[in-house]
């Protein structure tokens, strides 16, 4: 049993003229204690919808989410069940996620109220601030007195005050400058390791993910198309989409080589292509890809992909679908 266990998750939104848009289509994902799992993909792939459903901010239309073994209910007006308060979220933009009119000490203490209500001693404001590398003396200041990187540390401190067992962070470093990105990414790693927490790290940046996450899952148009240890996914991507994504990253090596582009646009999620959702853009498309939708299968030990091309190249591995592992 994983700390956070997502099975067959479906998230649908109402589209134009009564259509339903399937933002997340049958996703399985696990996060263990002490583990960083990255969910990567381009805009509109459903990664944020998955993250919000994982903390109960939106109601899934099907599937199950279990946290610490208990089913997780969507957030209601009356607040959330006590057990779920150990699951916290950190958002992308630390300029809008912190109330500008409140002192950061109060903001963090409010995060701690969650722990007190659950009958636990919250982490003190000073301890939270020091844990994220800020001085305890900053508690009297307001958010505008801090840089973007410092604000994101404050948002993390607020999540820590609740003594969470798992954090879902949606693009927590994308809004920051490169020098601050590295520092906040390393901070998240040290928190996860020291406090034995789980972290679901949602990002569009594969290179950052490669350097901090244990496991990487790649999403395309609502589906998780590949998953495995970050090093393996980066070194030897199985799914053609993952390959295209990695090849598209421009490298700062001074060589002046253009990254490879992936022709075509992401299709409208309200009308996904028949068969494999990636087939209209896939450089290795086969006839079967246009007709049937590939299922995720274990192609190598501890690695899964949903791709006919990859499964032809990697003859069936006689293991059950493994989504639940520590790298």
């Amino acid at each position: 049993m994983s700390l956070l266990e997502i099975r067959g998750l479906e998230v649908t939104y109402a589209g134009h003229a009564g259509t339903r848009v399937r933002a997340v289509a049958h996703a399985d994902l696990d996060v263990e204690a002490g583990q960083i799992v990255a969910l990567v993909g381009e805009s509109g792939c459903g990664k944020s919808s998955l993250g919000k459903a994982a903390v109960g901010l939106i109601a899934p239309s099907a599937g199950s989410i279990r946290f610490g073994g208990e089913p997780l209910d969507p957030l209601k007006r009356g607040g959330r069940p006590k057990a779920q308060r150990k699951l916290q979220m950190v958002f992308q933009d630390p300029f809008s996620s912190l109330n500008p009119r409140r002192r950061i000490g109060d903001l963090i203490a409010e995060g701690g109220r969650v722990a007190s209500e659950a009958g636990e001693t919250p982490m003190s404001v000073g301890e939270c601030l020091e844990r994220v590398g800020l001085s305890a003396a900053f508690a009297d200041r307001f958010p505008h007195q801090f840089s973007g990187g410092q604000r994101q540390r404050i948002a993390i401190a607020r999540a820590l005050a609740a003594r969470p067992r798992c954090i879902v962070a949606d693009e927590p470093i994308s809004a920051l400058d490169a020098s601050a990105q590295a520092a906040v990414a390393n901070l998240l790693v040290s928190i996860v390791r020291d406090l034995d927490m789980g972290l679901l790290f949602i990002s569009h940046d594969l290179a950052i993910v490669r350097s901090i996450a244990d496991v990487t899952s790649v999403m395309y148009l609502g589906k998780i198309v590949e998953s495995g240890s970050s090093a393996a996914v980066w070194r030897d991507p199985l799914h053609p989409y993952t390959r295209s994504l990695i090849a598209a990253i421009p490298r700062p090596d001074g060589k002046g080589t253009l990254p490879r582009d992936l022709p075509g646009d992401v299709p409208d999620p309200a009308h996904p292509p028949a068969g494999c959702r990636f087939h209209p853009r896939c450089p290795s498309v086969m006839a079967v890809c246009r007709e049937r939708e590939p299922q995720r299968e274990a192609l190598q030990p501890l690695r899964t992909a949903a791709c006919f091309v990859a499964s032809t190249a990697n003859p069936a591995h006689d293991r059950p679908v493994a989504t639940n592992f520590v790298a």
Partner: protein, 328 residues
């Protein structure tokens, strides 16, 4: 460079009104040049002064902004032009594309209207000729089915296609210099790769010079011939793409590259830089980078180093110069 460059910014200083009647200096003593058909990458973190440097080329500064120095372009000094004359240069000889193509395009006007309006204003051609030219421009930026695309509106295009349209509008008057301010930052990587390819093709086909402003060293490496690194309103390092990215010589450039994910054996490393960039209203004395620099010496607190030429086509603003000959 033996030929005179297309644009040459010399000792540009920009000041803006600050609080309490004081003035802030977001750009100080910046010099850079762009040759014909050359792509120059201008990089730095937010607040380093890269965007305002670019806006100065268009004569567009925030209210109360003042400039000193010279911006030489096509035999004239842009800083001496009257507003009317500057308006002619802007959009005709020097054009700009912005980060967010959704806000750069008018949401209520068809693509045809937005392209032809520009053409008719600057070129004074009739509607029919403008339409023909608009189709050519969309084809130039590789928009499929250009004639039909003209009838559509910005929201009917994806982000990448919208950025191509914004580039087409910028190219209407065959500018000599295109300023591209974070042109791919709002786009997904696979789409970004397509826009980078397009910019390189346009340089080849039109002999266009490009000033590419970016915070992404990968983007800069893919496209630029030469790079200029800014920190706290000053140029700290300049040189060819290969020299600067493979053998950074200013400590700031070195730290900036170290903060990016980079492979070392089997591991990917991230080495964060200490501290945060200073605000332009409260610069530390001496070298503005010294509080974050691993090599800072006593004299770095006293002297603000100017950019000095250390080898052919290579300049750094550092008195210690600790990285000379050190492999990246």
């Amino acid at each position: 460079m033996s030929e005179a460059p297309l644009v040459s910014i010399e000792n540009l200083t920009i000041s803006l009104p600050g609080n309490n009647g004081g003035r802030l200096f977001p750009v100080r003593d910046v010099s850079l040049s762009i040759g014909a058909g050359e792509i120059v990458g201008l990089a730095g973190e937010s607040g380093s002064g890269k965007t305002i440097t670019a806006l100065s080329l268009l004569g567009l500064l925030p209210p109360g902004g003042r400039m000193s120095g010279h911006i030489r372009f096509g035999g004239q000094d842009l800083l001496t032009l009257r507003p009317r004359e500057m308006a002619d240069v802007r959009g005709r000889d020097i054009a700009m594309v912005f980060q967010d193509p959704m806000t750069a395009l008018h949401p209520m006007l068809s693509i045809e209207k937005q392209l032809t309006e520009h053409l008719r204003h600057h070129r004074g051609i009739d509607a029919r000729a403008a339409r023909t030219r608009a189709i050519e421009l969309l084809e130039l930026v590789r928009i499929p089915d250009a004639a039909r695309a003209l009838k559509r509106y910005p929201h009917q295009f994806s982000g990448g296609m919208r950025q191509r349209i914004a580039i087409a509008i910028a190219l209407c008057c065959e500018p000599q210099l295109l300023i591209a301010d974070e042109p791919t930052t709002a786009l997904d990587v696979t789409v970004q790769a397509g826009i980078l390819r397009l910019l390189q093709q346009l340089r080849g086909e039109l002999g266009l010079s490009v000033l590419l402003i970016t915070h992404d060293m990968g983007v800069m490496s893919a496209l630029s011939d030469r790079v200029v690194i800014m920190y706290a309103g000053r140029v700290v390092e300049t040189g060819t793409r290969t020299d600067v990215l493979q053998h950074p010589r200013h400590p700031y450039t070195h730290s900036l590259l170290g903060a990016l994910p980079h492979e070392q054996g089997d591991d990917m490393l991230l080495q964060p830089m200490r501290g945060t960039p200073p605000s332009i209203g409260a610069l530390p004395p001496g070298c503005p980078f010294h509080p974050r620099c691993d090599w800072a010496e006593g004299r770095c607190r006293d002297i603000e180093p100017g950019l000095r030429v250390v080898e052919a086509d290579r300049g750094i603003a550092c008195v210690v110069d600790p990285l000379v000959g050190v492999p990246a």
